[in-house]
Amino acid sequence: MLIQINNLTKTYQRHDGAINAVDNLSLDIPKGSFVTITGASGSGKTTLLLILGGLLQPTSGKMSYNARELDLLKEKDMATFRSNHVGFVMQSFALVPYLTALENISIALNVKDKDNDKNRKRALELLEWVGLSDRTTHYPKELSAGQQQRVAIARALANNPDLLLADEPTGNLDPSLSEEILGILKDINQKQGTTVVMVTHSPMAAEYGDTKIQLKNGKLHTNEKV
């Protein structure tokens, strides 16, 4: 099992009282699986994804990675966990605007390895893999939405993560581009064995998963293996 979460709760304090975005949730994510998480707005999908990626501390509960319990409260350890094991693909692409496609990938590589030549070579390989070898010196604003998302995917794969987390990766794309990006994610899952967890509103995108999870009010509503 790649990830196990037990009795995870995330509570937000609001002016009108406390709200459990994730409510006492337990879940296993097997290695090499493609998990899709769906649910209505406010069901806790993104909160769960943030906790899985070590971006957000839960209020209570435990999480294990490769059978090793993570100290979710240690910010430094979680930053190292993110750079070593997790890749992120966001709806808004999350690219640095003043860096070229190549540089956006290189900054992710630089966290782990300071060898510039090696990092450049690796970034070029990744851009070639996502079909953008002719766009290395282009800035995000010079790329189409689909191309930006492909750069974001290449960056997510830079450090060979075991886990790829995608938050509405097709939310800003038209249907044909959406299928192209989902195809790339499926490839990553099937050919490289990378575990993919994808949050989506789209029933079509959810069909790409081999495990379909639906959340309701922060609780597990359905957990269906295909």
Binding site: T46, R82, Y98
Partner: protein, 405 residues
């Protein structure tokens, strides 16, 4: 891609922000450099002017009256000539030149004139112990007079010319204009004083002081003539103006406790007060600019951090630690500090060079050592201003670029 590359690209990406941030540092540092440059050059000018006045410290026997600085040594009691050696061997900083003197009124025919024995520089130079003390060929302190090797300062006011005389044989003398007129003497005339013949080797230009009534002869010849032995009535010292303000007089009093030491008080104190005021203004500006500059840079970096919240979130998301974020922002401040320091030095120096002659009538030259100080100060201001924004940036959550359901 290194973090420095990231910082440089970000700086270049936001050029208008960079320009306004740099402008704040440049102007701040420029003001300090401008004031400091004018202040230092002004101090030097004052010191040169004091040098041009000639001796500005007078060492007299304890019982002497000093109502008039220029005639205090006439008929004064005496003290041993060896006091000169005491000053030399004390190696006090700020003593640039000395002239031991013995002065007495003598009668030549029906005329009362003032005979002053002086020691020419050539005789001072012949004394090894004095050379050891460093008076001869001494390197003049850069803060108070032109640098070694520079052309000697020209006398601004010839009436006040009282500098040492290079050579004066025991049978020669110099005479003031009033003496020359009263005794009808010219150059190469013979002047007989107390039975000894002296050759007039030079007529001194009119000064409007008691010096016009003086005959200057070799000190040792005068001592023999008057039978005083190795006694003198005064030592004139050219003291460095800044050293005078730093307590040179009291140090000299410690070396020669049984003497009376005085200076051209009004001139020196006025100039010193001016210099002190300039220094105080520099300090006030320095403090203001430290505060205003740091707050400006802090404000700029803080605005920059707010604009980059999403970007900082991205970096944190892909695994950058808080320390990387601090590093990125402080490095940015450091680079701005270096550039702002250099630009501020250039602006301040150009302003001083241009404004100096127009407003205070002195020619201002660049002070190159201020460049390092400018950069150092600019870095200090920038980094200080960036610390709080950098700390706050470290608190930006790594999910700042994601939308909560």
């Amino acid at each position: 891609m290194r973090l420095i590359d990231l910082v440089l690209k970000e700086l270049w990406h936001r050029k208008s922000q960079l320009t306004s941030g740099l402008l704040a540092i440049t102007l701040g540092i420029g003001v300090i450099v401008g004031i400091r440059t004018i202040s230092v050059v002004s101090e030097k000018a004052v010191a040169v002017n004091l040098d041009n006045l000639g001796a500005n410290i007078l060492v007299l026997p304890q019982a002497t009256s000093v109502d008039n600085y220029y005639s205090a040594d006439i008929d004064a009691p005496t003290f041993p000539e060896s006091y000169v050696e005491k000053i030399v061997t004390s190696t006090l900083p700020g003593v640039d030149n000395m002239s031991p003197k013995l002065t007495r009124r003598v009668k030549i025919g029906n005329e009362n004139i003032v005979l002053t024995g002086i020691l020419p520089k050539s005789e001072i130079a012949s004394k090894p112990i004095w050379q050891q003390g460093g008076i001869i060929g001494k390197k003049v302190n850069a803060s108070c007079a032109p640098k070694p090797g520079a052309a000697p300062a020209k006398y601004i006011d010839p009436k006040l010319q009282r500098k040492g005389i290079d050579d004066l044989a025991e049978s020669d003398c110099f005479i003031g204009t009033a003496v020359a007129q009263r005794l009808k003497l010219k150059e190469n005339s013979t002047l007989t004083i107390e039975g000894k013949d002296f050759t007039v080797v030079k007529l001194l230009p009119e000064t409007g002081t008691v010096d016009d009534d003086r005959v200057f002869a070799n000190l040792h010849a005068v001592q023999k003539l008057l039978g005083t032995g190795e006694q003198i009535s005064a030592i004139e010292i050219m003291g460095c103006c800044s050293q005078i303000s730093d307590g040179l007089l009291s140090k000299l009093r410690n070396v020669l406790p049984d003497t009376r030491i005085t200076t051209i008080g009004q001139i020196v104190s006025t100039q010193i007060e001016t210099n002190r005021m300039m220094n105080k203004i520099s300090l006030v500006f320095l403090i203001i600019i430290l505060f205003v500059g740091s707050i400006s840079i802090g404000n700029y970096i803080w605005a920059n951090v707010n604009e980059r919240r999403k970007e900082i979130g991205i970096l944190r998301m892909i695994g950058y630690h808080k320390r990387h974020i601090y590093y990125i922002l402080v490095l940015k401040a450091l680079i701005m500090g270096i550039v702002g320091g250099i630009a501020g030095y250039i602006v301040g120096t150009l302003a001083a060079v241009w404004l100096g002659p127009q407003f205070i009538g002195i020619v201002v030259s660049p002070i190159y050592t201020l460049l390092l100080l400018s950069i150092g100060l600019s870095i200090f201001i920038s980094v200080l201003g960036s610390l709080i924004p950098a700390y706050m940036a470290g608190k930006i959550e790594p999910f700042s670029n994601m939308q909560e359901d």
